[in-house]
Symmetry: C2
Subunit: 353 residues, 2 copies
């Protein structure tokens, strides 16, 4: 197992890392405690990784994929090749059950499965293949982040003014990916090109990733940011000059319908009303070519207490009935384009990938 013990694979940029694999352990930054506390979970078993994904200690579709891929390395600790394979199969099955909507999870696990499923000469070579596959997912996602940010900057630069507001929802920065981020990485590249632009972050109820993570990460990255509630986005556009809105994605159907954090659809309607172009930024691993349209995307329902409370303080009585979808589906006609590592695509181009 020395090869696993000596591995060092890390996500993110600078001090913004969602997870680090080192000394045979997957250390996951507990994003639930941010920005107040910096706490790392040390996962030495697949089960611990699965629970960290389920409880949202690590979240963001590309980061979930990366954590799951590296989590598979914790299944390699056996001498005989058959034992390695059976442990991998069990780990794969467990990790696939963690969260249903983010397609990157399944893309990452498929890539790792292609390493452990076929015949191998011995356990060592099987392990080496799995390590290479997991590392490959993380490195490819990092490269995709940088590539899509550059494509987004070049394409969106022509649509904004020097002092435009750049709006986003949820959190799509370094902590949500294996690299610099998706939508927030695009905003960072745009801000670098146009220093008078500034970000507007929707707080993103119920779990407040926009307030807790995006506003904080913008400040860490030197991107000026204004925080608003989700309910203020439309009025903000009525009162201010918003150049563009860029959001992430958890799953993009072949026709361009996009599942993303709940509130994205409402933001898209506000954009359409005000003539603000809305872009989805995501690696092509987020595109599910098997999925015809948004109607076929499974939307995760989460616990009612997330809505009945705010950051631990109850807002409604415990008996209040709640509807709490984690994501919504924005129809393709409300989306101007898809910023990927392969360029900015129209919805009609997605099915040709």
């Amino acid at each position: 197992m020395n090869s696993i013990q000596s591995l060092h694979i890390e996500a993110g940029i600078r001090a913004l890392r969602a997870f680090v694999f080192e000394e045979g352990v997957l250390r996951i930054l507990d994003q639930r405690a941010l920005p107040g506390r910096t706490t790392w979970l040390s996962c030495s078993s697949v089960e611990e990784v699965a629970q960290a994904i389920e409880c949202l200690a690590v979240r963001g579709a590309p980061a979930i994929g990366g954590a799951a891929a590296l989590g598979m390395l914790l299944a390699l600790d056996a001498e005989h090749i058959d034992d390695v394979k059976s442990r991998c199969a069990a780990a794969d099955e467990r990790l696939r059950k963690t969260r249903p909507t983010a397609v990157n999870l399944f893309v990452a696990l498929d890539r790792v499965r292609a390493a452990w499923l076929p015949p191998a000469a011995d356990a060592a070579s099987l392990r080496a293949r799995v390590v290479a596959a997991a590392r490959g997912y993380v490195e490819d996602d990092r490269s995709a982040c940088d590539a899509l940010a550059a494509h987004g900057r070049d394409a969106l630069n022509a649509l904004i003014d020097d002092d435009s507001a750049l709006m986003t929802i949820c959190h799509t920065g370094a902590l949500a990916t294996c690299g610099g981020g998706t939508a927030l990485h695009v905003l960072g590249a745009l801000h670098a090109a146009r220093p008078a632009t500034h970000a507007v972050a929707l707080e993103t109820r119920p779990l407040l990733q926009g307030a807790r993570l995006t506003a904080w990460e913008c400040q860490q990255r030197g991107i000026p940011v204004t925080l608003i509630t989700d309910s203020m986005a439309a009025f903000y556009m009525q009162q201010h000059k918003v150049g563009v809105a860029v959001v992430g994605a958890d799953r993009i159907a072949r026709n361009g319908d996009t599942a993303n954090k709940v509130g994205t659809f409402a933001l898209a309607l506000a954009c359409a009303h005000h003539g603000v172009p809305l872009f989805v930024a995501a690696p092509t691993t987020t595109i599910d070519v098997q999925c015809d349209s948004g109607a076929h995307i499974v939307i995760e329902q989460r616990h009612a207490d997330e809505v009945r409370a705010f950051a631990g303080s109850a807002s409604a009585t415990p008996s209040t009935p709640v509807w709490n979808p984690s994501f919504d589906v924005t129809p393709a006609h409300l989306i101007r384009g898809y910023i990927t590592e392969r360029g900015v695509l129209s919805s009609s181009m997605l099915s040709k990938l």
Copy 2:
């Protein structure tokens, strides 16, 4: 002062009362503590009433008017008529500075001023006039609530199905008025006529009046309710049958543009996209015929901490810049009609009132 000591004037219906004037004191239910605690503030001075309005212990445009009108009774405690008048003038000036957007506040104070400003034979007759004016505002608002609920029920009944969802934002129930409420009173009347309908309450960030007050008051009144975040309204309409949305108003301009709790404009855009008719329910005291359009409505900006936290639980760091308008302006073309005590009006009828 015996006449004031013996007065008993109360707002609301059943156990849902925003304030009660009794034994010479204006007792105000502290709505900030609901639904967790039932706390009453005993205001024996105009300053205490002004602060209760400013800190949102009492809120809701018609209730603010009622609390201010009855607060004026606390300025009557002087022997000489000149002293009563000067105390009334100071009280009037103070109360007008509490909150800028709700026009009912100024309507109520104008009505009471018409009682204390003109000459009077003596202090006792002046006091009697002021008491009658304040009581008149409260009683007229209560009557307006019942009348507008009946008009709304009759008009909207034809637009909904037996099992339609009835959506609303913020809190417009008994605690927001001197009677049974505005928009929520309409939903109550619709539910009474169609028992299979149910309310959908938007939680209404940042102060969560929808979660804390509407969801709670619906349960108190026997109206089935589902609580969602503001960001879910558009997706809820995509996924469910919403018959109608009814909202309150803090100020309605002559052209029909309506200032109401921030988030109303976004809800109106979601309604327009899904073909859900949106109605504003408010007494005609909320219509400001002096105001040409929404562009002239002063929008109150509130403290950044309201967005950075809730009930003491922080979501963002204290240095995070925030934009926090208390209200937004929904353009008249997104509003199907105005449910008032004088019937359901179109925007073109407002200027003829």
